[in-house]
Structures are given as structure tokens and as C-alpha cells.
């Protein structure tokens, strides 16, 4: 299937020299905008802020590819039509069908816990200081299927540092949107203990591969993929990469995580992709790459062993699954 729109590198390569803004000028403009922002009334009247992610349109299309993979990314239609997002339904095709039920505008993220700068930040505040980059990552679901996805976003570490976590912050907890009075279609039944929760150890969260995605294929995330802001931890099973984040909390104790609460013997806190840890539902030794009929071997840490194995040195990964 052909991607619905051009990929960022294709866009970049089609630009001529005169289309590109002189970098110094670009930086000055940004400085100017940033200065203006901090002085303006926007800080006091957040409702006056540009409410839409469209404000960041240019950052999406200009995102530079920083992490590549030999594998070709899956098509936009595969990535956006086959999803696990229980808030929007339990079948793979439900999230795209129910996508409209999720409102991402306005959006804010509550930052709290062990940090110097807690508060409720608008999506614009969250995204503003970050340059976007494109990263091609493998995505491995615990259900033994996988895709290759061109994410757009920025390192989670860059975001977390802004809130100045204290020395007590040992873990980071995340929460997905949940309004008890107005639940999303999948939240009407207690299939999981809502809101959906996930967590990372601080060093995992600060790892350069850990990514805060806000787009795919050079465009803002569609709702079914976790708009407007989702986590991407490429060496862990997909359910760790929590979608539509509304809360980030720094904690001293290991936070509760949704699938672990639902089935503690099946889904551990770490949930690193590990072909050697058997799972009662799906053999994790092999996976079906979407679009292929037959399965292929699964790589330890989903192929990111060189980058992340040291995080778990000395740990028994069979016990800490």
C-alpha cells in the first residue's frame, strides 16, 4: 500500500536551496517567538493560547530523521488501522472507528510528584521548547506482532528535565485520559482498571531511545495512535508505550501499571521484549511482522540490546519480566 502522504525525507529532498530559511535567521525567529511567549498574556490566560496542534505543523514536516532502521516503515494505513487502544474499543479495528470519541483539543498534561516544577501544562507549553525529530523504530506488541513506525517527537528525557525531578524521583508514572462522567467508548466497561497507567524506572525514562511521540509520518498522531502525546519505548512490549497522556508523575516507589494489575503473572513492570521468557498466551520467541504471513524470530530487547541491556545489568530478567 502506498503511504497517504510523502515522507519527511521526501519533502526535504524536494526543497531547493532558496526554500530553506537561513539557519541563523531561523534561530533568531525562534528566540523572538520564545521571548514573546514568556512575556505575553498567554501564560496568564492559557485559553487564549493557540489551541491546536496545527501550530506546530512546520515542526512536523521539518522533523529530521535521527534514528534509522534498515527495515522499511509500514504503511500509514497499516499503522493507523490496526491498533490496541482499549479506551477506544477492544478489537484491532475499533480504535480507528471510534477515533472521533477522543477530543484532543484542548489538551493539558498535569506534572506532579517529586519535582521542582509541578503544574498543569497546556499541550502547547509541553511541545513549545522541543525540536521535533523523526525516528524509525521497531514496535513489538506482546501479542507477538510487530511493525516499523516512523515516529515524530522528542526524547522523553528532554521533557522530564524541564520539570526538575528531585533526588527522590526514582520512577516516572504516566496516565491516559479518563473522565468518569464522560468515558471513552472502551472505558464504559471495567475491562481494565481505568485510567490506563504505565511507568518507567528513572534511568529507563531518561534513556536516549525513550521517546515522546506526537506524530507519525511527519503528521500529528491520529487519535487511534494515542494523540496528542504518547510514549514510545522501543525495547519494551507495546503496552508500555502509553497513549494520550494527561499526567506525568515522579515517584519514589514503583508505580502501578494497568496490565500488571490485570494479570500480574503475565505482564511485569519491566516488560522488556524477551524471547526467552515464555508467556501463557503468546510465544515470545517469534513474531509476525505485519504484512508477512509467517513468523520470524524475536530479538532480545526488540533489537535494541546494545543500547539498553546495560540498564538491567545484574538483574534476573526471568524474574523481572
Amino acid at each position: 500500500m502506498t503511504p497517504i502522504f510523502r515522507r519527511p525525507n521526501a519533502i526535504i529532498s524536494s526543497l531547493t536551496e532558496s526554500d530553506v530559511t537561513d539557519e541563523a535567521l531561523f534561530r533568531r525567529r525562534r528566540q523572538f517567538i520564545k521571548a514573546g511567549m514568556s512575556l505575553s498574556a498567554l501564560a496568564y490566560f492559557p485559553q487564549l493560547a493557540f489551541a491546536s496542534i496545527d501550530t506546530f505543523k512546520d515542526r512536523f514536516s521539518q522533523a529530521e530523521r535521527t534514528v534509522n532502521l534498515e527495515a522499511e516503515p509500514h504503511s500509514y494505513s497499516d499503522i493507523t488501522s490496526y491498533n490496541n487502544f482499549y479506551e477506544l474499543g477492544y478489537g484491532k479495528g475499533d480504535p480507528v472507528r471510534n477515533a472521533k470519541a477522543l477530543t484532543t483539543d484542548p489538551w493539558s498534561v498535569t506534572i506532579d510528584g517529586e519535582c521542582a516544577k509541578p503544574g498543569k501544562y497546556t499541550l502547547e507549553d509541553v511541545l513549545k521548547p522541543h525540536d521535533f525529530e523523526e525516528r524509525i523504530y521497531r514496535f513489538r506488541c506482546v501479542e507477538a506482532w510487530s511493525m516499523v513506525i516512523p515516529w515524530v517527537g522528542f526524547p522523553l528525557a528532554d521533557l522530564l528535565k524541564r520539570f526538575e525531578p528531585t533526588s527522590k524521583a526514582k520512577y516516572v508514572a504516566f496516565e491516559t485520559i479518563y473522565d468518569k462522567e464522560n468515558p471513552l467508548p472502551g472505558q464504559r466497561r471495567n475491562v481494565l482498571d481505568w485510567p490506563y497507567r504505565e511507568g518507567l524506572r528513572m534511568d529507563e525514562a531518561m534513556h536516549p531511545l525513550t521517546f515522546m511521540a506526537t506524530g507519525i509520518y511527519g503528521k500529528p498522531l491520529p487519535n487511534q495512535n494515542g494523540a496528542p502525546l504518547r510514549l514510545v519505548v522501543p525495547w519494551k512490549y507495546g503496552f508500555k508505550s502509553i497513549k494520550s497522556i494527561v499526567r506525568i508523575r515522579f515517584t519514589e516507589a514503583q508505580p502501578e501499571t494497568s496490565w500488571n494489575l490485570s494479570g500480574p503473572s503475565e505482564y511485569g513492570f519491566y516488560s522488556n521484549v524477551n524471547p526467552d521468557v515464555s508467556h501463557p498466551r503468546w510465544s515470545q520467541k517469534r513474531e509476525r511482522v505485519i504484512g508477512k504471513l509467517f513468523r520470524q524470530p524475536t530479538l532480545p530487547f526488540n533489537g535494541y540490546q546494545d543500547e539498553v541491556a546495560s540498564l538491567y545489568a545484574g538483574m534476573d530478567l526471568r524474574k523481572n519480566y
Binding site: M1, H74, S77, D78, S81, Y82, Y86, Y90, K92, G93, E143, W145, M147, R189, V191, L192, S262, G263, S278, P280, R281, W282, S283, R288, I290, G291, L293, F294, R295
Partner: protein
């Protein structure tokens, strides 16, 4: 002579209705299966066609099994005896779908690798349960032919009671494989409970 006259048209029409039903069910089931086979080549089954096919074949094996098991209760309550002539036919369709379900598992999931199939059966209880159900259904399918049925006599009835176990195992298999949303296994499970309870009711009533 007169009795025959009266009886004949009724008998013929009954035969026709059953035959027509069989033709219709066969056409529907074959086009249903054809839709999935064609989908592998034409790509309309979404991002993960193998998963779609596995689930569809398993679900329809269960549908046909539950329909088969509802024949006897329907006959007893509504005296619709002609339905009995559909029972074996429906049961065989259930077995056919189950065989396709099993084939997708051994071919697309394991590429006929015996070691890997066995490992999956041993490591995953839901697969073990489904596998046992399939194995138990094989002798039922084989002995469904009239000659063998006659030859087995009363033993045939005893043997074919295994189908209750197959159905229970089928529900357990389904229940065990879903991650969190147990709604459908629950619905199928309740239907099976009703169908089995009805049999107990008649057994109790007879005494």
C-alpha cells in the same frame, strides 16, 4: 392407499426443505471461507489477515457447534423432528471450520514445525485445551458416516457424548485466550450452559 397419499406430499416437502437448507448452508459456508482465502491475496482483511482468519475459523467452528447442540433441545420443545436430519451435517461443518482453524495454526503460525507446535501446546494452556478439543472431535467426524454409526450401535451414542466436552473445552479455550474483554466468551458460555442444562432437564423429567 389413502394414508400414503396424505403422507407423501408432506414427506416430500420435508425432504425438500432439509435438502434446500443443506444446499443454502453449504453455499453460505463455502463463500464465507472463500472470502477469507481470497482476502489473503487481495488484501482486504486488514493489517493482520492471518489473525482475522484464525479468529473467524475458530468462531464459526464454535457457532456451528452451538447450533448443532441446539437441534435436540429444539426438537424436544417444538417437536420439530425434521431438524434432526441437519444435526450431523451441521456438526461436520463445525469440524470443517475447526480443521481450518487448526491448519492456520500449524501452517501460518508454525510452518509445520512439529517441535515448535508441541512447545506452543505445552507452554500455552489455552492452546492445549483447544488442541484436545480438536483431537476429541476427530473420531466423532470419522464415525459420523451412517455405516459406522450402525455398526457402533449404542456405543455410537456414548462416543458422541464427547461433543459436550468438546464444546466446554472450546469455550474454555476462547475464555483463556482473551486478554481482558470476556464478553463474548461469556455469551457463548451462557448459551452452552442453557443447551446442556436443557438436556439435564429432559433426563430428570424422564425419570
Amino acid at each position: 392407499m389413502l394414508a400414503t397419499m396424505k403422507w407423501m406430499p408432506l414427506g416430500i416437502s420435508k425432504i425438500n426443505v432439509i435438502t434446500l437448507a443443506k444446499i443454502a448452508i453449504t453455499a453460505a459456508a463455502l463463500s464465507h471461507i472463500g472470502y477469507f482465502i481470497a482476502g489473503i491475496f487481495l488484501g482486504y482483511l486488514g493489517a493482520n489477515p492471518v489473525e482475522v482468519i484464525t479468529h473467524a475459523m475458530g468462531e464459526w467452528a464454535l457457532h456451528f457447534l452451538l447450533i448443532t447442540l441446539s437441534i435436540t433441545p429444539l426438537r424436544r420443545h417444538f417437536h420439530w423432528n425434521a431438524l434432526m436430519r441437519l444435526r450431523r451435517f451441521l456438526g461436520l461443518w463445525s469440524f470443517f471450520y475447526l480443521s481450518l482453524h487448526f491448519f492456520v495454526f500449524i501452517f501460518f503460525d508454525h510452518f509445520f514445525n512439529l517441535a515448535s507446535i508441541l512447545e506452543d501446546i505445552i507452554d500455552r494452556p489455552y492452546i492445549a485445551v483447544g488442541f484436545i478439543a480438536f483431537i476429541l472431535m476427530v473420531p466423532l467426524a470419522i464415525t459420523s458416516f451412517k455405516k459406522l454409526q450402525r455398526w457402533l450401535g449404542k456405543r455410537w451414542i456414548v462416543l458422541h457424548r464427547t461433543v459436550y466436552l468438546v464444546a466446554i473445552l472450546g469455550i474454555v479455550h476462547y475464555w483463556w485466550l482473551v486478554k481482558a474483554d470476556i464478553l463474548w466468551p461469556l455469551v457463548y458460555g451462557l448459551i452452552l450452559v442453557i443447551l446442556l442444562a436443557d438436556r439435564l432437564y429432559w433426563k430428570y423429567k424422564k425419570r
